[in-house]
Point group: none
Chain length 201, copies 4
Amino acid sequence: MAAEKTDRRIQRTQQQLQAALVSLILEKRYDKITVQEIIDRANVGRSTFYAHFQDKEDLLVSGFVSWEQELHQQFHTHAHDAEGADHLLHSLTFFRHAYEHRDLYRAMIEGGGSDVLVAVGRQHMSASIKAHLDTILADGPQLTIPLPVITHFLAGGLLSLLMWWLNSDMSYTPEQMNEMFCQLAMPGVLQALGIHDENGP
Amino acid sequence: MAAEKTDRRIQRTQQQLQAALVSLILEKRYDKITVQEIIDRANVGRSTFYAHFQDKEDLLVSGFVSWEQELHQQFHTHAHDAEGADHLLHSLTFFRHAYEHRDLYRAMIEGGGSDVLVAVGRQHMSASIKAHLDTILADGPQLTIPLPVITHFLAGGLLSLLMWWLNSDMSYTPEQMNEMFCQLAMPGVLQALGIHDENGP
Amino acid sequence: MAAEKTDRRIQRTQQQLQAALVSLILEKRYDKITVQEIIDRANVGRSTFYAHFQDKEDLLVSGFVSWEQELHQQFHTHAHDAEGADHLLHSLTFFRHAYEHRDLYRAMIEGGGSDVLVAVGRQHMSASIKAHLDTILADGPQLTIPLPVITHFLAGGLLSLLMWWLNSDMSYTPEQMNEMFCQLAMPGVLQALGIHDENGP
Amino acid sequence: MAAEKTDRRIQRTQQQLQAALVSLILEKRYDKITVQEIIDRANVGRSTFYAHFQDKEDLLVSGFVSWEQELHQQFHTHAHDAEGADHLLHSLTFFRHAYEHRDLYRAMIEGGGSDVLVAVGRQHMSASIKAHLDTILADGPQLTIPLPVITHFLAGGLLSLLMWWLNSDMSYTPEQMNEMFCQLAMPGVLQALGIHDENGP
DNA sequence: TCCTAAGCGAGACGGTACGTCTTGTCTTCCA
DNA sequence: TGGAAGACAAGACGTACCGTCTCGCTTAGGA
């Protein structure tokens, strides 16, 4: 069909733009990157850029769909790696993903583009965590603390740890980070969920 | 003395600028506020603005020193209000302060100025938390988790909760929020610190 | 061709700017005219202005090319009007042109923009005068005075007379002014050129 | 008396400012010189500057009074040096004065301060020339050309020659310049004045 | 095979805000 | 009390981006 071919051209343009943005982010602060620089590197006309994206930020978040897909896929891939408390959160996936793409993550954090990233990340994490907890809590809703409070607490703690880790020299492995995160977070969460920690005293 | 009088004039100008910025933040998104608008409202010349502050953001953070002083003072004021686990963190102070100034906090969060605020806030919280833990841990350093990890985890969780609370309808009291935060955070933290929870099972 | 269309747009913008400047000069002192006022009147963006011209003065002199072309054309148009001594200088053209555009000339003189104008005018006059003398002197170079001295003397005297005339009530006609100028200037010049005045004593 | 001392102080301040301006003019373009630079070099407060002079230009022309006095004095000093036609104009004085202070003259011309200088100079010259002609013409007013026309023509020609000379390498002596100027200007002028050139053909 | 509409590059443009610069006024202190 | 010091309001400057636009070229699917 015509649409398919057309779509292919469009897709190619969009990918060029996304790639250009990523490569620029690795070079300089995100908030110092100009639309002009992006389209220059992508070999794309100015109007073409605005035909596809509202603005620079729109282009940025557009790249997150693949990011989310990749994360989501890793969730399922490593679904059975989860051991102990982590099966509640799949937090290891975040640490692993951040480790693999640490260059980009770091660049985003110190480049000022992290607001959007953090917002999206928080959103995603909260949803992901909530989804997990939902399945677990289907049977008994004996919550002493509202669910949103728990999810936001966890997302915030996780993100904060992630950012500290990325800003440090990353001397810990993703697994170590996750282990520490779970040690810190799980006791309180399990208690709030009314779940007896089977490894408890 | 000459210096004193001069200082007084300078201080007055700076305060006018800070006040103008705050009043503008309460009206519109921070990142849509113009230097021109600020100086118009403050009845100040353009060059005067740049004589005192590098840019809009500099003016913003300059306002945080009083903010920090106010927080610090509240720490000591309410030092003995702390009960139970909270004496570790003084987290209640944050919730209370946010509640009192919820208009400004909210405006900052949704106005795009929160990056700086959050960064500064995180810094401050980490330091504050670390200070508290330091005094506690003076005797026995039996940490299973590095201190920075703990403080960043706590600061992130606290900030995240704070932001969720401010974005919601704030149907909980500061005390309730703090109670929930402590329930979620303390078990893991106490365990990490090697402290036996006296209220534990 | 694409280039032609583009050129046309650019030309139009430049003409709008030049027209705006001229109309403003007729209203207020040149040196009190703001770039902002120019672009407002020309319905042009600030950056567009600076894309075409370095600054206000650049725009001003850019208008002189058409001014020079017009002058040059009048030289040839009235080439045969010249009678007597004037055929040496074509000075009548200057007086006539100034008379036709006396509003603009006057505005420029009292508006502070005359420096540039005078400089350009002097340049042009010197060149024009020199060109005429060159053709005449092709045969015999029996000069008692260097040519540049003669041309600058003439250009200065002519310009000075022009400005006095414009600043006065212009009760003389261009022809009268030119007649007086020639009476004052020619005797000395002819002598310096080693030319016997056929109308001599 | 106190007043005297005060007056002396005031004079001293004004002279400091004038000296500072002159020394700056010799270093950089007049129109790029800042009030700040002037008062810095003169070791004078900003308000003091504005207490004495309206603005930079006012300070500049204030320096011309001594300039005029000096010129005027030279007129009388060299009154009897004048030989031949020059006794009409005393133009030699201008060339000599310009030669003596060629550094400052040149700086003014290329520095953009020449407008004022030229305007003042033209004024002065016209007056000076007119004064001379007046005495000469007291007896017979048989003018074929109005006096202002003559004076402005002469002033313009003289100034123009002066500027060309200053901009060139000044390979001619003041006397040579004056000689050429008189050769060019006098024939026409004498004729206009109805004076028979005794050295004529 | 040709044709026609969409995608596209190129870049001019209007507009907004920036941070810098200079001016002339005003206030405060010192000698 | 006059002058030095310098903070200040005012506002123009030239720069940097933005998002919109107009213009032809290319190109691929439907005629």
